[in-house]
């Protein structure tokens, strides 16, 4: 049994390592694109078969998002990024319950040892994937925020220089206590924004990697029946993690496009 934090490369193209998670990600992406093309090709006013399922899922997700944003137009604007995150993450999470996980693979020389490199490894059990999605989530949050309320106003959330000094007696700038507090609060916001990269990626990675290790170990110890509840547990965890990732992204998006009236109001009140 070999447990590695990093995804294992199966083969190399030049010096580029093609890892098992990259393969799985490609498969998932291909699968989703095929579904999209199938639905697009047979898109009809009266839904049938596959279109019914896809419609139900998408409409359900959109309605659910609407309850969070409280605005259908906003929900629609955020839908592509949030729903793609959800569907991609949930599929890559559920890959781990596919039979043959961690057992079907090729033997390779790694760090001087011969180990089994499995073909299937949940894409979410690779920090590269989770970090990539986290980066997209955080950056799209910034982009949507700037687009919605303007660069200046959005930047003021993190660097509120405005209230730092107050003009007293007509011309003398005096440091303002409220302004300094606000400045530090903004600085903390900036750090929180950066921390999102870590929290997003490590939360998902930790959960799914742990699940994968758990399944591997349980299957190794007792191959029959006993892993079943763990499989169900992992299906549930996979769903919850995908939901958490997507919903957090949605909430951050919603927060980014909402102006900080509260703080401005307070600073006016304080002065």
């Amino acid at each position: 049994m070999n447990i590695s934090l990093a995804a294992e490369p199966i083969f190399h193209i030049g010096s580029f390592p093609v890892t098992n998670t990259l393969l799985v990600a490609w498969v998932i992406i291909l699968f989703l694109i095929i579904i999209a093309l199938l639905v697009k090709k047979n898109l009809k006013e009266i839904p049938k078969g596959l279109q019914n399922i896809v419609e139900t899922v998408i409409e359900g997700a959109l309605n659910f998002m609407e309850t969070i944003t409280g605005d259908r137009k906003q929900a629609k604007k955020f839908f592509p990024i949030v729903f793609t995150i959800f569907i991609f993450v949930i599929l890559s999470n559920w890959i781990e319950v596919v039979p043959g996980l961690g057992t079907i693979g090729i033997w390779e020389e790694l760090h001087g040892k011969t180990v089994l490199v499995p073909f299937i490894r949940s894409a979410s059990a690779d920090l590269n994937v989770t970090l990539a999605i986290a980066i997209i989530s955080v950056i799209s949050t910034q982009i949507f925020g700037i687009m919605a309320i303007g660069f200046g106003k959005y930047g003021k959330k993190f660097l509120p220089f405005g209230g730092l000094f107050k003009i007293k007696y007509g011309f003398v700038p005096v440091p303002s206590f409220n302004g300094i507090i606000n400045f530090f609060a903004g600085f903390l916001e900036l750090i929180a924004e950066l921390a999102k990269f870590v929290s997003f990626s490590f939360r998902l990675f930790g959960n799914i990697f742990a699940g994968e290790v758990l399944l591997t170990v349980v299957s190794f110890l007792v191959p029959y029946v006993v892993p079943l509840p763990f499989l169900f547990l992992e299906i549930f965890v996979g769903f919850v993690q995908a939901l958490v990732f997507a919903m957090l992204t949605l909430v951050f998006l919603k927060m980014a496009v909402t102006e900080h009236e509260h703080e401005e109001h307070e600073s006016v009140h304080g002065s």
């Binding site: 697009k40 839908f79 690779d126 590269n128």
Partner: protein, 166 residues
Amino acid sequence: MELLTKLGIDWRLLIAQLVNFLILVLILYKFLYKPLLKMLEGRKEKIEKGLRDAEQLGVELEKTKELQAAEIQKAKQESRAIIEEAERRAEAAGAETKLKTKAEVEKLISAAKNQIISEKEKMMAEVKKEAIELVLATAKKVVGKVIDNKVNKELIENTIHETTKR
């Protein structure tokens, strides 16, 4: 940097995954979300319109039904009035005809009576005349050419008069 490598982070893989995911978002947006959501919206509108139309139709149907009922009611009343009128007229006409017929019949009867009376009188007169002549002739034959014709006639007439009176 070493920590990142230990965690398995490789910038080449990271960029590959980033690109992968962005492509996925773009393709899904272009081929799935956009057309599907557009169609869903279109269908929603259509259904709403259909429901609205159906409701309106229902209201209109109700109205038409009411109108129809009112019309039928009106027609019934009118027909009843017409029938009553016709009956009344027929009755009146019948009575008039009866009266007319009766009057005519009476007239006819009276005319016939009159005629009969006059005929009778005429006949009587003729019978009288003939009887007189007959008697005269008989008397003449019996008596011969007696007395004056005039006296004779008077006599006979008187006699007849007396007999008829009795």
